[in-house]
């Protein structure tokens, strides 16, 4: 039982990383119809920014500010390179972000080294909260808390602010939103930035848990795709739940049958695709 809980909880924490990444990806897919392969790259950048700036800003400062730095990089990328590709075959934006992902990974390797670096977290976060459930450390509680708060904040923005209304409406029918006088280019840029911000946050949180390596981005972005497919394209809550689901499944599997811990994620995806092709909470006919 202890082992099952241990695996499930480990998986839950990783699942929160997947969920954050998948949320950001979903936002961008919804409004810009771009699969941002570079999401993993921005996530790694967030982590490495925090690693570099932690001596100056402290842990909390970098946790707060570095996602924003990543977000600004994201907005520059969107304005400069993605924007000219709107309205063209979606293949091109895929390839563009694909190229960017390769460049970011290579640059991170060149600047910070291929070996990977440890990311220090405050000591008081490292100790277990409970003696019986030794695996529940303060940091893991923090990860879950921050992610939950961020997600609730995001849903609140989407639900209650004018920006959120525009984003939701634009996801459903961008043309109508544009004809009502909304600057959709600005809207897409802001939305893109929010997506990258989530990735940067995931990067910093994951850095404290898993350490930082240049390839971390590509190893976390694939499960995020799966999370979106499992949860259903077009549903943010679906992406979130999909991420948690596959995280927990992988965590439990890794306790009993470690070799299958990655494959089980894709097996779940295949099962969902066969039984319910639109995903758990997805809408029919989106993005097609």
């Amino acid at each position: 039982m202890q082992i099952l809980l241990f695996g499930a909880f480990n998986g839950l924490v990783v699942g929160f990383f997947y969920a954050l990444m998948a949320l950001g990806l979903s936002l961008i897919i919804g409004l810009s119809s771009v699969i941002n392969f570079a999401q993993g790259g921005f996530m790694v950048l967030g982590g490495y920014f925090a690693y570099t700036l932690e001596p100056f800003l402290g842990f909390w400062g970098s946790l707060l500010l570095c996602p924003i730095f990543a977000g600004f990089l994201g907005i520059a990328f969107e304005r400069g390179l993605i924007r000219p590709l709107y309205g063209r075959d979606p293949l091109y934006s895929l390839l563009l972000t694909f190229g960017l992902a390769m460049i970011i990974e290579d640059m991170v390797r060149t600047i910070w080294g291929a070996q990977g670096v440890p990311f220090g977290i405050p000591d008081y976060l490292n100790s277990p909260v409970s003696n019986i459930y030794f695996f529940i450390t303060g940091y893991r509680v923090l990860v879950i808390g921050v992610t939950a708060a961020t997600t609730l904040g995001l849903f609140a923005i989407l639900r209650y602010t004018r920006l959120g209304v525009c984003i939701r409406a634009g996801t459903a029918d961008l043309e109508t939103v544009a004809s009502l006088g909304v600057n959709i280019y600005l809207l897409r840029a802001i939305n893109f930035m929010i997506g990258i911000l989530l990735a940067g946050l995931a990067g910093i949180l994951a850095a404290g848990q898993l350490g930082l390596t240049p390839t971390m981005g590509s190893s976390l972005i694939m499960p995020s795709f799966v999370a979106i497919i499992v949860g259903g394209v077009g549903s943010l809550i679906g992406s979130m739940l999909g991420g948690l689901l596959i995280g927990v499944a992988a965590g439990i599997t890794s306790m009993y049958f470690p070799a299958a811990s990655e494959v089980v994620i894709y097996a779940i995806m295949a099962i969902v695709l066969v039984l319910r092709p639109r995903g758990l909470l997805g809408q029919e006919g989106l993005l097609e």
Partner: protein, 325 residues
């Protein structure tokens, strides 16, 4: 742009035949002129292999309009199929090739139904994720596949013929073996694309709804295209593992899938020979870049971005084509 045939005073179809003959002559004599310009034969072999993979993918990508970002899976499965056969069963190049083709091709055929009803970026996302599934199987199934380190410990065997004759496949002989495989596959691809089936692939790409109104099931056509391109890509993969006498999980990774797509786009994915041009440029450039800098991944990434921003129609997209399909 006036067709060069005009200046030569020949009919356009004769000009087309002339170009094609010239192309094959260049390929046939590659083992002679490649060393002469300071290159090596295996590089030519690799160009053929990557070109084959890209042309196989392009049947789906450029003609049927399926954005597959997972074709490295079938390439890699082909590579593992051939490698595993040579390592565990016996030294027989024919059977190794067949097992590679069937492992990759059957995987594509089985995966097809999962993706065939999807279009656009959703198609891309599912294919890339399914590709990663095979990647992790190769990485984690240590005892059979050699895991992260890749599968080694096999050698391509001499090519046996009935009657007891066998041709040893050293560098140059292996080039010609690959060239023959390439020629057969390309001939089949061209035949398929100029058949009614090939035309209906283009129809799915252009207007699948209209096709449905005509009573044709677009999804099934995508499935067929997916399977065919999977078989061709798997053939390329088997040839690749026998070229290197080695195969690694990187042969199944999504980065390679993306590279196959960019090969098609770079050369021109609406033209039959475009992917070949893309593959030739890529293989030569990668060979050169990785010899001068550690950062060749950035260079490839930059190539992705430059192609998208400046050559979206591909290099052959600028040259008026005689329609092959």
């Amino acid at each position: 742009m006036t067709n060069p045939a005009y200046f030569l005073g020949i009919r356009p179809s004769a000009w087309h035949a002339l170009r094609l003959a010239l192309f094959w002559l260049v390929l046939i004599f590659a083992p002679f002129w490649l060393p002469a310009i300071g290159s090596y034969t295996d590089l030519g072999t690799r160009v053929l292999i990557y070109a084959l993979a890209a042309m196989g993918l392009n049947l789906l990508l450029g003609f049927a309009g399926g954005l597959s970002f997972g074709h490295a899976a079938f390439f890699g499965l082909g590579a593992y199929g051939a490698g595993l056969f040579l390592r565990y069963v016996g030294p027989n190049t024919w059977l190794a090739l067949l097992s590679g083709i069937f492992l990759g091709g059957l995987a594509a055929t089985l995966v097809g139904p999962l993706v065939m009803r999807r279009r656009g970026i959703y198609f891309a996302m599912i294919t890339i994720a399914i590709g990663q599934m095979f990647y992790f199987v190769a990485v984690r199934w240590n005892s059979v596949t050699g895991g992260e380190d890749g599968l080694s410990g096999f050698q391509r065997a001499p090519l046996g013929f009935p009657g007891g004759n066998a041709i040893p496949l050293t560098g140059t002989q292996y080039y010609y073996f690959v060239l023959v495989c390439f020629a057969i596959a390309v001939f089949l691809l061209a035949r398929i694309l100029s058949s009614p089936l090939g035309h209906s692939f283009v129809a799915v790409r252009e207007n699948s709804r209209r096709l449905e109104f005509l009573g044709v099931r677009g999804g099934r056509l995508i499935w067929i295209a997916f399977a065919i391109s999977g078989f061709v890509t798997a053939l390329a993969g088997s040839l690749d593992s026998m070229l290197n006498n080695f195969t690694s999980p990187l042969d199944l990774n999504w980065t390679l899938s993306g590279i196959f797509v960019i090969l098609c786009v770079l050369g021109g994915m609406r033209s039959f020979w475009g992917p070949f041009l893309g593959a030739a440029i890529y293989v030569v450039m990668q060979d050169y870049a990785s010899s001068i800098t550690q950062n060749w991944m950035s260079i490839i990434g930059l190539m992705f971005m430059l192609v998208v921003l400046f050559f979206p129609r591909g290099l052959l997209g600028f040259i008026p084509q005689r329609r092959t399909a």
